[in-house]
C-alpha cells in the first residue's frame, strides 16, 4: 500500500481510535459508535475507507451482525529531516527472510531467529523447537517478550542511525559548500559513492528530475568532487 494513502488514512484521530479498538477485538458498528461517541454514519464512513484500503475487513456472524477486524499487518516509517522527507510502508516480512544478507547487523538470542539465519542444515531442529513451543503458554510468552525487546532495540538503533545520518549529511554538505543545493549535492555524492553510475539511477536514488541531477553532476565534476570512472559513471575523487 502506498505510504501517502496510508498517512491520509491514519491522519484522522477517529480512524486511529477505531484501529486501536479493532486491534483489541472485532467490533460491530454500534459498539464502535458508542465507544467513540461518534455517530454510526461517521463510523460507517471511516470503516468504508479503511476497508477500501484493505486495512480492515468484515465478516457476518450467525446473528447476521457484521463484525469488523484488522485485515492485515502493516508497518509505516516516516522520517523528516533537513535532508529529506521519507515515508515507506511495508508488510511484515516472512520468517524465511534471509537476514544473513545483512552486512552490518546481527541478531542474537531471540528464539527461532535461527530459522531465518541458518543455512537450512538445522531446519529439523528448529521445527522441533516450534512444535514444543506452540502448545506451551510459558515459552510462547517468553518468546513474545524477547521479540518485543528486540523490537525496542531495533527502534533505538534506527534512531541512532537517523542521528548519525543527519550528522554525516551535515558534514558532507559543509564539505561540499554548495549553498542552497547542499542537501541534493550530498545525496548525489553519496549515491555515486554507493555505485550509482547513470543519471537515471541517480535521479531515482535522490528522487529528483534528470535535468537537476545532470546539472549537479556537471557542477560536481567541474569542482573536482567527483571524476569520470571508465566509460560511463563516476567515482568520488579520493582527496580534494
Amino acid at each position: 500500500m502506498d505510504s501517502g494513502a496510508l498517512l491520509d488514512l491514519l491522519g484522522n484521530e477517529n480512524r486511529r481510535r477505531i484501529l486501536r479498538l479493532l486491534a483489541r477485538k472485532p467490533c460491530y458498528v454500534t459498539e464502535i459508535s458508542e465507544y467513540l461517541g461518534v455517530s454510526p454514519k461517521a463510523v460507517i464512513d471511516h470503516l468504508r475507507r479503511l476497508e477500501e484500503a484493505g486495512v480492515v475487513e468484515s465478516r457476518t456472524d450467525e446473528k447476521r451482525r457484521k463484525y469488523f477486524h484488522i485485515a492485515r499487518n502493516l508497518r509505516l516509517e516516516v522520517t523528516v529531516s533537513r535532508h529529506g522527507f521519507g515515508a515507506k510502508s511495508a508488510y511484515p516480512a516472512s520468517r524465511d527472510l534471509d537476514l544473513t544478507r545483512c552486512h552490518h547487523l546481527s541478531i542474537d538470542g531471540v528464539a527461532d531467529v535461527a530459522a531465518g539465519v541458518d543455512d537450512g542444515a538445522d531446519e529439523d531442529a528448529d521445527d522441533e523447537t516450534d512444535d514444543d513451543a506452540s502448545g506451551d503458554v510459558a515459552s510462547l510468552a517468553a518468546d513474545l517478550a524477547e521479540l518485543e525487546s528486540l523490537e525496542r532495540e531495533l527502534s533505538l538503533a534506527q534512531r541512532w542511525v537517523q542521528g548519525r545520518l543527519a550528522d554525516v549529511r551535515d558534514d558532507l554538505a559543509g564539505a561540499l559548500d554548495a549553498d542552497d543545493h547542499e542537501g541534493l549535492y550530498a545525496e548525489v555524492v553519496a549515491a555515486v559513492a554507493d555505485g550509482a553510475g547513470t543519471v537515471e539511477a541517480l535521479s531515482r536514488r535522490v528522487d529528483a528530475p534528470a535535468e537537476v541531477v545532470e546539472h549537479a553532476i556537471g557542477d560536481l565534476l567541474e569542482r573536482g568532487v567527483i571524476e569520470p570512472d571508465g566509460d560511463d559513471g563516476w567515482r568520488v575523487t579520493d582527496s580534494e
Copy 2:
C-alpha cells in the same frame, strides 16, 4: 512530539509535499505556492500548522524575504496488526547512545559505530578519525552510503520482527483460547512473563484500563495460565 499530532500533520498530501520540498532547500511562500499549484493563503496555513508543531522554522534574509526550512529531525513508526495499533514518534538519538545495552542486536562495519559501542577507552582514536573525515568528501560519502545501507537492514529486520511477533501472538492467543479477549490476554501474559508485577504496570504496558486488566488477571489465574509469585505479582505457569 505526540505521534497522534504528527500523524494529523502528515495526513495531508500538500503538507507532505511542502516537507519534501523544504527538505531539499529552504523556500519562501511564493516558491512553495507555485511549485505546489496551491494558493499562497493555503500554503501559509499549512506552514503555520507545521511551524506551531515545531517541524518547520523560518528565517528572514537581508531582502526581508521569509524562508522556511525543516526545524528538526523527526522519526515516526506506525504498526497496525490484529494484535495492536501502535504509533510512536521520536527524535533521532545522539551518537553517544549506548548500543551495548542491546541484548539481541549487534552492529558491525559502520564507520564511527565504535563511538557509540566502545567503553570510552578509544575515544581519542575515534575523534581523530572524525577530524580526518570531516574535510574529506570521499570518506564522508562512503560513511553516508554505509549508514544508508545499515538503515535499510534495520528496516528489514524490523519487518521480520513484526512478522514473527504476529506469528507468536497468534500462537499464544490460540493456546490461551480466550475468544474475544485473546489479543488482550496474550499481551497480559507476555507482560507478566517480562516481569510486569502490578496491575498498574500491566495496565500501562498493554494500554488497557485497570478494571479490564484485573478481570483478565483473575481469569488467567483461575485457568492456571499464570500463578501468584511471592507477595504480589505473578509468573506464567510453567506447563499447563
